[in-house]
């Protein structure tokens, strides 16, 4: 479906997901290109967030979930028997809808991931914390208060702290689950700019309710409806000449 010249990092094959009786994802086949921003759009309940969470196996936490089919990360099935979920999540980081910094200092928030994976050296941690905060474009704002609680920051700053926290473990892919939906326009544009910056080194996959956002920053867009992947392709093409009537109806605002 997507441009053949792109290299794929994540691919799903005949992916089906059930929450008990509810068939939430139906035969999803998608190839997500590396070092690009891919936006997942669609009305509420269409399965886009569910799909995002299958990519780092956060759905494992939901009781009664059943998954069929394959999700390949660099060619390896992430639902395979010998896969270590913790190292998978280290490579595929996630930023949530609501900023969720831990009730600790800013420094400890960023150092949380590296410490989890065994980095103890103070010098090494200092370096990671600074680099991550710089990458998340928040270093200048917080460098003098690293030992203050992260909960004292504004919503937009907290969300960038969460991005920095995710970057600190040096993931390959960054999943963003409507990460700007709770933020004001200025914070939102900062994070959008950040995402465009990050795609040089990371693959970004973002769920968004904001069509303008998808159009502004994503390279590829996937449109989900009622658990199906209706259309996936180059964002510009999709928004100017959608291939499916339903996509057209959605992006022109006739439903959703």
């Amino acid at each position: 479906m997507c441009d053949n010249s792109e290299k794929t990092i994540i691919q799903s094959k005949k992916l089906n997901l059930y929450y008990g009786e509810n068939h939430a994802l139906k035969d999803i086949d998608i190839e997500i290109p590396v070092n690009r921003i891919t936006a997942l759009i669609g009305p509420s309940g269409c399965g886009k967030s569910t799909f995002l969470k299958t990519l780092n196996r956060m759905n494992d936490l939901v009781p009664g979930v059943k998954i069929d089919g394959q999700v390949l990360y660099r060619g390896e099935d992430i639902y395979g028997r010998e896969v270590d979920v913790t190292s998978l999540r280290r490579q595929i980081g996630m930023v949530f809808q609501k900023a969720n910094p831990f009730p600790m200092s800013i420094y400890d928030n960023i150092a949380y991931g590296p410490r989890t994976h065994g980095i103890r050296s103070r010098a090494r941690l200092d370096e990671i914390v600074e680099r991550s905060l710089r990458d998340a474009a928040i270093w200048e704002e917080v460098k003098d208060r690293l030992n203050k609680s992260a909960l004292g920051l504004s919503g937009g700053q907290q969300q960038r702290i969460c991005i920095a926290r995710a970057l600190a473990v040096e993931p390959q892919v960054l999943l963003m689950d409507e990460s700007t939906s709770a933020l004001d326009p200025i914070s939102t544009s900062k994070i959008e700019e950040l995402a465009m910056e990050l795609k040089n080194r990371y693959t970004v996959i973002m769920v968004t309710h904001n069509m303008q956002q998808a159009l502004r920053i994503s390279d590829y867009t996937a449109f989900f409806l009622l658990g199906e992947l209706v259309e996936f392709g180059d964002t510009q093409t999709m928004f100017s000449k959608p291939g499916d009537k339903r996509t057209e109806a959605y992006i022109t605002g006739r439903f959703g």
Binding site: N56, M58, L61, P63, T86, S87, L88, R89, R90, G93, M94, F96, K98, N100, P101, F102, P103, M104, Y112, G113, T116, H117, S149, L151, G152, C162, R165, A166, V169
Partner: protein
């Protein structure tokens, strides 16, 4: 009444106003009775007990020959029982609570266990005494000893510790857990680094309240830990501590109070012990409040 004639000043009929007034006076009266009772109770205990309190009373062992009265053994026994009970009940209670809220996936089993702990929490303590005598004193061969008392109190306080710990674990936002797991943390790592630090205030408060229950318990200890007023040979080493737990039996403060009042009709001493217990309860409540607010996350 005609619509136009109705004015705002007779919005309430006389009957409704009388009803309102009488309900209000009833509520004030019940509040006043409670306050009066409380003031009387505390005042009376202080009035009867304080004159008999002295440093000697607190710091010596009683001796009929020398004519000395003292509750040092009871104080020390209380301390022993509190420490021994906490050492056993904390890992057990906090551990089971963590298992129930963070690990267990079988909802039915969890609710069955929760129902059981709730029932246990409401059981009269004399039943724990009975079980304690049979299981710890007789079957386990501990005899009447402080340790048997501590074990029985473990049974009694375990449900409370589990409940309070569970409640405070449940206040930790799910998003903290997700955040930790999404960074590649294992489950125990998540519990240790994020969940426990954010709920430690509630856990500590629960423990302090459990200490209150231990200090206030008498029935269980009369049956299992003994009623003697003698001083255990106490020492400062850890070994001595454990030896005493196995070897000695004796009355804690509440049981000493019973001894004074019921066995000897020495009400002056009984009230003096009551003052000490009151002071301990006061300190425990203050500590629980402080722990709740000081340990609050950031």
């Amino acid at each position: 009444m005609d619509r136009e004639q109705m004015s705002i000043c007779c919005g309430l009929s006389r009957r409704r106003r009388a009803y309102d007034l009488s309900m209000r006076s009833l509520l004030y009266a019940s509040a006043a009775v409670i306050c009066a009772l409380l003031v009387f109770l505390i005042g009376y205990i202080l009035f009867r007990g304080i004159p008999h309190l002295s440093w000697q009373f607190l710091s010596s062992e009683e001796s009929v020959i020398k004519g000395i009265e003292g509750i040092l053994p009871a104080l020390i026994n209380t301390l022993y029982v509190v420490i021994a009970t906490l050492i056993i009940v904390l890992p057990l209670g906090v551990g089971s609570a963590i298992y129930l809220t963070e690990y267990a996936s079988n909802r039915k089993l969890v609710s069955a266990i929760e129902f059981a702990t709730e029932t246990l929490a409401g059981m009269p303590s004399i039943i724990f005494a009975l079980v304690g005598v049979i299981v710890f004193c007789e079957f386990a061969g501990l005899g009447t000893s402080l340790l048997a008392g501590a074990f029985s109190l473990v049974m009694m306080t375990l449900p409370t510790i589990i409940r309070t710990t569970q409640e405070s674990l449940k206040t930790v936002p799910q998003s903290y857990r997700e955040g930790s797991l999404a960074l590649g943390g294992g489950k125990w790592h998540m519990v240790r680094t994020v969940v426990l630090p954010s709920s430690v205030d509630g856990i500590v408060t629960g423990c302090i309240l459990a200490v209150g229950r231990i200090v206030g318990e008498s029935a269980v200890l009369m049956f299992t830990a003994g009623m003697g007023m003698r001083l255990a040979k106490y020492g400062h080493s850890f070994g001595q501590f454990f030896e005493n737990l196995f070897d000695s039996s004796g009355a804690t403060l509440t049981v000493a109070l019973y001894n004074y009042a019921k066995e000897r009709a020495d009400f002056e001493s009984a009230f003096a012990v009551a003052v000490v217990l009151l002071a301990i309860a006061f300190v425990i409540n203050i500590a629980a409040k402080l722990a709740g607010s000081k340990l609050k996350k950031h």
